[in-house]
Amino acid sequence: MSKRIEVNDLNVYYTDFLAVEGVTITIEPRTVTAFIGPSGCGKSTFLRTLNRMHEVIPGAHVKGEVLIDGNNLYDSGVDPVMVRRQVGMVFQRANPFPTMSIRDNVLAGLKLNNKRLSKGDGDELVEKGLRGANLWNEVKDRLSLPGGGLSGGQQQRLCIARAITVEPDVLLMDEPCSALDPISTLAIEDLITELKEQYTIVIVTHNMQQASRVSDKTAFFNIAGTGKPGKLIEYNDTTTIFGSPSMKETEDYVSGRFG
């Protein structure tokens, strides 16, 4: 179920404004890839183009291609809804559906596919999803309570459980720990390491320790100035990026002299 992502010369526009320019990158299956860079450099925007979530903003569009196992997401006739069912996403702020129970939150994506779930199957999937997100032991006694009642870290893991229950090929994470305390952050990072056995994971983070801890490869994005497009500066093994980057900009950023 894990798949390779190939991006070829991708430009992202908001109406006429070029936000991200000329990104070419290949992300291997069963790896964790971290996107780092200063605020406004377009890394989140680029991440969203990998499951076409950028399209929820009116006027946003791309030029170029994104291939997942050779299939271009932007071919005409590709339904963004189908793309998103294969490329899951976890957001910066935990966003469980507040009126749904924990159980219904986990199953929310499956119900979209109009699958009729027997209660037994549902229970099984809920347990599988919550175990996959390392949340099962904490919530197994209160599955029918609203997801909004959990702590921030638990909520974020619930969102991860929700995302992986639909069994996507790729999991995108947009600063998943930025709103969490260090202990919750650690729990998520452990989870990411486990999840990479099954999924291709791409994570945007501002936290460079986090990037070095969890990722196999790291992509550094930068922006030349206000109004200029963001660009992919350097992409390599995480150890290389943080140890001996080939670009001066990258070195400045990872060593804290910039941004």
Partner: protein
Amino acid sequence: MLIMIILAGVALFLIISAIPAITADWSTESQLNTGPTAGFPNFWAYVGPLIWGTLWSAAIALLFGAPIGIGIALFISHYAPRRLASILGYLVDLLAAVPSIVFGLWGIIVIRPFLLPLSDWLAANLGWIPLFGGPVSTTGSTILAGALVLAVMILPIITSISREIFLQTPRLHEEAALALGATRWEMIRMAVFPYAKSGIVSATLLGLGRALGETMAIALIISPAILVSVNLITEGKNSQTIAANIALNFPIATTLQRDALIGTGLMLFVISLAVNSIARVIVGGRKGKRTKSKVSPKSPGPLSRVPAGDFASATALDVVSGRSSAGIADDEGPTPEEDIEGARY
């Protein structure tokens, strides 16, 4: 406080004025057994059918008006392109500015003749259902015509309130649904409706309040009778509403008949107060619930609200994420309650 005094004053006025008619013996009192109040043994026999007619016409109006109003609101908030949405929103608001007498005349001249073929068809094919029982109206002044015009009249209030609520749906919830592979409609069912449920209910109740009190359009369009009936397309079995009955009979009423009409007004006052209180309780409950639920505080608003085409929006996502992460980074175990209070209210 002033409002309370005024409200209490109105209630007191209604009660004091109505008492003579409520306590009178309608069969022997010479002022009450003639004219508009003739044929009723007491006040309650008179006001009962009127209460029914008031609720019945409002219910039919809601049946048509609420789904259409909510549908328009949804179209404006989540489907229409920005330009069309703002034009539509403006038009709906404009609808609220049309005087009810104009709606009444529109009902007489346009809607009544327009509905005649429909009522003929309903009577011919579905006449066995009591709702469509005959004899079918030949002039078109049916409760169906009146309620349809009423439905149009309550559209603005339902649409504008639900539209506001829909637009407030936290963007995070909408994105959560979309990222799971929801279609736009599935996203609305998953994220917008649960969030807006109580708002929709209170919008509908406010529309109901408007429908209950509507006078002139009903008085002009419907051929009324003071009886309890569910017939929709007859000439002589359209249950009269309290407000229209007062408007029609007040000018010729004698002193005691006026008291009787004021008594029916008291009943309308009670009903309207009840409807508004229920709406208020629901809105109140909604606030309480929202405070408890951990809604993300910094949601930038609904998708359609994000301005397109300028630089700010181009980097909106990154900028917003950067700012909020900075703001929240140091408060461990965020307390959503506080966040919500701060951000939303």
